[in-house]
């Protein structure tokens, strides 16, 4: 049994049209899976649906054998799925420390939380330096570190990241993907959406391509990178953009 199984999920916003039009997807325990696809394909919508921010109109989301359809986001996170949205979801007027505490909001055990916060500080010394500072005063890179640190505090079973590299300087992007691999080493399973397809896939074990609200391809990450059709359709422009 896979850790997460998505069966024919149809979803959309409000009374609007279907954005996801029957997505099937599985995530295996312990892997890093990277979803790529053009803008507007529905990648963010898929993650939001899994996180419970949107309700599936059809189909099922099954996590560890339990159907998640209809659960609230706070119930889903307590089952071990954390979601780091595309827009860095920080609390701008809380301090760095308070933001980390919010990361552990769903933890029952408060001493465990303090321990984990110390570990997050150990991994991100810059956060420790600035623990009293308001989150709004951090740079973009530091804010992303804070978001990642928050995931470390919760240490969920499955962590979903939506375009974590967006808007970051290249050297920080490299560091970021290392952190993502680190999640895996710490026992977390990772489902990640990346525009930065090559680097994302390089970091992943498995990849999948989403287009027009449907999964059009999946397989081992290096297989996708080498597949000529996918290169042409989904990686081509990326390659040019990267080499230029």
């Amino acid at each position: 049994m896979s850790l997460l199984e998505i069966d024919g999920v149809v979803a959309g916003y409000g009374r609007g049209p279907d954005i996801l039009r029957g997505v099937d997807l599985t995530v295996e325990e312990g892997e890093v899976q990277c979803i790529i696809g053009p803008n507007g394909a529905g990648k963010s919508t898929l993650l939001k649906t899994i996180a419970g921010l949107l309700r599936p109109r059809k189909g099922r989301v099954v996590f560890q054998g339990e159907v998640l359809n209809g659960l609230r986001p706070d119930q889903i996170i307590r089952r071990g799925i954390a979601f780091l949205p595309q827009e860095r979801s920080l609390f701008p007027d809380m301090t760095v420390l308070e933001n980390l505490r919010m990361g552990g909001y769903a933890l029952e055990d408060k001493s465990l939380m303090s321990e984990r916060i110390e570990e997050a500080f150990a991994q991100f010394p810059i956060l420790k330096e600035r623990y009293k500072q308001k989150a709004r005063t951090l740079s973009g890179g530091q804010q992303q570190m804070l978001v990642m640190g928050r995931a470390l505090v919760l240490r969920p079973h499955l962590v979903m990241l939506d375009e974590p590299s967006l808007g970051l300087a290249p050297q920080i992007v490299a560091q970021l993907f290392e952190i993502v691999r680190g999640f895996k080493d710490q026992g977390m399973t990772v489902l990640m959406v990346e525009q930065n397809a090559r680097q994302g896939l390089n970091c992943a074990d498995r990849g999948c391509v989403l287009d027009l609200g449907q999964r059009v391809f999946d397989g081992p990450a290096d297989g996708i990178l080498d597949d000529p059709r996918i290169q042409e359709l989904y990686l081509g422009t990326q390659k040019k953009a990267e080499t230029s």
Partner: protein, 339 residues
């Protein structure tokens, strides 16, 4: 989010059906009948005055809510303080009558113009903010004006101004007001209809849906909003002027209370915000219900409660109002489809 409530395109596809053909005639007959009501006064003793009074009140509020709808419905800027324009019209006409002896029937259009100019200036200032800030500013405006008038002896202060009756006997005294108010109501409806079908109206509705998109689509949103605000003040000023002599007084406690400002909002919501017919239907229903409950149960408390309860029910269950909900269900009679 869904943006289905006010569609910018004209979605009427039944224009050719017989309902729409006969609509013109039915409406014509209704207007003609209304114009003939006072004639019955010759036949009866003065007990028809009750009905004339009721109709005058309905015409007044049709004017209020139809005008409010231009900025509140079409453009989506909720004002809880449009009674300031009625007060401006009322006080201006009252002063001109008391000091210079000019009858309100002459000064009313002028009062409307002044209300409009004031509306334009206020609009320039207040329409730079949106959402909660705008709504709050409209309440602030009422209270600022109220405090000024309360303390300004020249305008009669808290006690207000008492105006003379017009010199007609009891059988006739209501008739000039009846025709004047009917005319103002019809003109305001026509004005609203005209805006609704103009490019200007299209722009206003674009603003109410998404102001930033409207701006990028090349609509001069700022000018449009201010013009809509000024336009919505005109007939309210006229009606306020007529009303002052009709009831023979103006005072801050009548014109500048929050309930006065709330009424057109309630009527328009009930009838259907952003539609031409909605405010007309809403005004008529609210006034009939109010007069009925006052005559049956007396007491303004029940009235206040009633306004609140109806408003909440409409907000929670029929946010599109009667006309809007009926249209959505495809059951709006052609007679009321003026959009």
């Amino acid at each position: 989010m869904a943006t289905a409530d006010v569609s910018v395109t004209d979605n009427r596809d039944t224009t050719t059906s017989s309902g729409y053909k006969s609509r013109k005639y039915i409406l014509g007959v209704i207007v003609a009948a209304l114009a003939l009501v006072p004639v019955l006064q010759w036949q009866t003793t003065n007990n028809l005055n009750f009905w004339l009074n009721l109709l005058i009140i309905i015409f007044l509020w049709i004017t209020m809510s139809t005008s409010w709808n231009i900025i509140g419905g079409y453009a989506g800027y909720i004002s809880l303080g449009h009674n300031v324009f009625a007060a401006i019209g009322g006080y201006l006409a009252a002063m001109l009558l008391l000091r210079l002896d000019i009858p309100v029937f002459v000064t009313a259009p002028f009062a409307g113009l002044v209300a409009m100019v004031v509306g334009f200036v206020i609009g320039l200032i207040t329409l730079r903010v949106r959402g909660p800030a705008f709504i709050i500013s409209t309440i602030a405006l009422v209270l600022v004006l109220r405090t000024i008038i309360d303390n300004w002896d020249f305008l009669g202060g808290v006690r207000g101004l008492t105006l003379p009756l017009i010199g007609l006997d009891v059988q006739l005294v209501k008739i000039p007001f009846y025709y004047a108010m009917l005319l103002v109501a019809l003109l305001s409806i026509y004005f609203s209809y005209w805006i609704r079908h103009s490019k200007f109206g299209l722009g206003l509705r674009a603003i109410s849906q998404d102001e930033i998109k409207a701006e990028t689509a090349g609509i001069p949103t700022k000018m449009y909003k201010v013009l809509a605000y000024a336009a919505s003040a005109f007939f309210i000023g006229v009606a306020g002027a007529l009303w002052s002599q009709y009831v023979t007084f103006v005072d801050p406690g009548t014109y500048l209370i929050i309930l006065f400002g709330a009424r057109p909002v309630l009527m328009t919501l009930l009838g259907g915000k952003g539609t031409v017919a909605g405010p007309v239907v809403g005004a008529a229903l609210v006034i009939l219900a109010t007069e009925f409950s006052e005559s049956q149960f007396g007491g303004t408390e029940l009235n206040v409660i009633g306004v609140g309860v109806v408003m909440i029910i409409v907000l929670l269950f029929f946010p599109d109002g009667l006309v809007g909900s009926l249209r959505r269900a495809g059951r709006l009679p052609a007679l009321l489809d003026w959009d």
